[in-house]
């Protein structure tokens, strides 16, 4: 008696009592479906979140210099030089200075618009596309020209999409619009499209502060973000001799953090879902015990005809495993359907993980074997005479 025959026999036995087989499988179905749904929803949530971070630029390094750095300080030129010295690691650098002034458009004042002082490389770091005009250029920065590049929201809202050459006021200074950025966030208020970029060299005048404390770098190769981070950290350490005076954060680290967070979340939730798999396994064990008792006579007949202990054992273990595997398959299908349905409902794409499907299936087969073993062992140990006499 080989396993293939046991398997065919098991399928037959499932067929003969469909309702009972379904109820037996229910625990496994629910458990497997729960695991698939949770994993795919969390994976979907994660890739949504990571996608949002990546849209900010996953190849970014943010440097913050503590304003209480004491007498020692770094020049913008020093920071820019780090890029020049490490072309294999760092692509571009730009200071990012938040300007604490509101923008005025002829009559209106916008409180939602953010104004940032940047260098001519900022658009390359952030992959900003220009829809009209140009981005800030080296000469704008160098000559501290009062030019600005505006987001698509501002161009639409205040300039009727015809902003080039028009003026706006920031902190009492008149700026000329030289470029409009391509729409990034469907031109909403306070969004990425509600922004103004000006030369960072003007920030001293506007903020009344000489210090530039934050910089943005783009790295050449994401895989080497640690090296890039070290290069900048080392350069800063030489200046400050104190690692608390600055922070260097790679966007890849943020993504790693999300990975770690969602990983833990997955583990906890899947752990809870796994309890229902366990309960399902106990259900299978229960039904198999009943089935062994019911089929005592059959076992006796088989033994009298020459079935060995292993033959009987494998017959019942395979039957339990088949039941549970069928439950697993139904659970996987159910889980995928519900995940797709939920992804429509939650507004992000649920990611069906092949790994989760494979693991869920193997676990359900494993549960069948583990929980079927005890009843099967009981069947295998039956004395053929007693079993034949049983009615």
């Amino acid at each position: 008696m080989n396993l293939k025959q046991s398997f065919i026999l098991a399928l037959k036995s499932l067929q003969t009592s469909k309702m009972r087989s379904f109820l037996t499988m229910l625990g496994i179905i629910i458990g497997v479906a729960a695991v698939i749904i949770l994993v795919s929803v969390i994976d979907g949530f994660k890739s949504d979140l990571v996608g949002q971070f990546e849209s900010l630029g996953s190849n970014l390094l943010t440097v913050n210099i503590s304003p209480r750095g004491g007498n020692r300080t770094v020049d913008v030129d020093d920071m820019l030089q780090i890029t020049d010295e490490n072309p294999e690691l760092l692509a571009y650098c730009s200071p990012t200075v938040m300007i604490n002034q509101q923008a005025k458009f002829s009559t209106e004042t916008s409180s939602t618009t953010s104004v940032t002082g940047v260098s001519e490389d900022y658009n390359k770091i952030q992959s900003l596309e220009i829809s009209q005009g140009r981005f800030l250029q080296y000469m704008d920065i160098h000559k501290r020209s009062k030019s600005c590049v505006i987001g698509s929201y501002i161009a639409k809202e205040y300039f009727d999409d015809n902003a080039i050459g028009k003026t706006l006021k920031i902190g009492g200074n008149t700026f000329t619009v030289v470029g409009v950025l391509e729409e990034k966030a469907s031109s909403q208020e306070s969004s990425d499209d509600d922004k103004i970029f000006i030369p960072y060299t003007l920030s001293r005048t506007l903020n009344r502060s000489a210090k530039i404390t934050s910089y943005l770098y783009s790295i050449v190769d994401k895989q080497r973000s640690e090296e890039a981070k070290d290069v900048i950290s080392n350069a800063l350490y030489k200046v400050f001799s104190n690692s608390d005076a600055y922070t260097v954060i790679a966007m890849t680290e943020m993504i790693d953090m999300i990975d770690e967070m969602t990983g833990k979340l997955t583990l906890i939730l899947v752990g809870i879902a796994a309890i229902s798999l366990l309960v399902g396994g106990i259900g299978i064990m229960n039904i198999m015990l009943v089935s062994v008792t019911e089929r005592t006579r059959e076992i006796g007949i088989r033994k009298s005809l020459g079935a060995k202990k292993f033959d009987i054992l494998s017959q019942f273990v395979v039957e339990a495993a088949t039941t549970s595997a069928c439950g697993g398959v139904v659970g996987i299908i159910l889980g995928i359907i519900v995940s797709i349905f939920l992804s429509g409902l939650l507004g992000f794409k649920a990611v069906i993980s092949v790994g989760a499907v494979v693991i869920a299936f193997s676990v359900s087969v494993g549960i069948g074997i583990a929980f079927g073993y005890m009843p099967a062992g009981k069947a295998a140990k039956l004395n053929p005479i007693d079993a034949l006499r049983h009615d």
């Binding site: 008696m1 020459g306 202990k309 005479i385």
Partner: protein, 228 residues
């Protein structure tokens, strides 16, 4: 073929012990047709279980086809049952959810024959009992006599040396019972050793040799000249 020497089967139940078989010696040669007769509780079923390798004696030796089986383990006994013996039970003992062909195939499955060979042998065995055309039917679709013929086919399928029949006519009416008996006689005429257990003297009278058991002991052992 079957050689029992000083077989005892003793069940101890706390203080008291029950001697189901109390020193039985019996030798059955190849080609014999033996009826073991006794009232219920006489020990004839226990004797049958031991001859059928379903049970081992408490003491004594049992040689079946030259092999000492009295001290064998369960799985070894299973192999002996599978290869040397064919059982016919009073209650037919067919598996209800299997078709006739699958039922007859069972001993061959456990013998490890490939599917094609099994099916051919099982079909041939069903032909011998005249039920080949119904091989796809289930036991519940047949009459009692037909079911008993299927169980005979199952016993024959593996071409055993010995057929053990435990009250083969017990659940059948007189006429079909007689048919089954005729079939056993025919099998015996073809050379198969047949051992039949019964409490019915009329049935036993059809055998070539009658062994009577009472209280775990053989009280008579006679050959019937008219059947030889």
């Amino acid at each position: 073929m079957i050689d029992l020497k000083d077989i005892y089967k003793i069940y101890s139940d706390g203080d008291s012990e029950i001697r189901a078989l109390d020193g039985i010696s019996l030798n059955i040669k190849e080609g014999e047709f033996v009826a073991i007769v006794g009232q219920s509780g006489s020990g004839k079923s226990t004797c049958m279980n031991i001859i059928g390798c379903l049970d081992v004696p408490t003491s004594g030796t049992y040689h079946l086809n030259g092999t000492d089986v009295s001290t064998m383990k369960d799985d070894e006994l299973a192999t002996i049952r599978n290869q040397t013996l064919g059982f016919i039970f009073q209650q037919y003992n067919l598996i209800p959810k299997l078709t006739l062909l699958e039922n007859v195939e069972l001993p061959l499955v456990y013998r490890g024959y490939p599917p094609q060979k099994r099916k051919e042998l099982a079909y041939a065995a069903l032909e011998r009992v005249g039920l080949a055309d119904r091989y796809k039917k289930f036991p519940s679709q047949l009459s009692g006599g037909q079911q008993q013929r299927v169980s005979i086919a199952r016993a024959l399928a593996g071409n055993p040396k010995v057929i053990l029949a435990d009250e083969p006519t017990g659940a059948l009416d007189t006429k079909t019972g007689r048919d089954v008996l005729e079939f056993l006689k025919k099998l015996n005429a073809d050379g198969t050793t047949v051992v039949m257990i019964t409490h019915d003297n009329e049935i036993a009278a059809q055998a070539k040799r009658i062994v009577r058991i009472s209280d775990g002991k053989i009280i008579s052992d006679e050959r019937q000249a008219q059947n030889l």
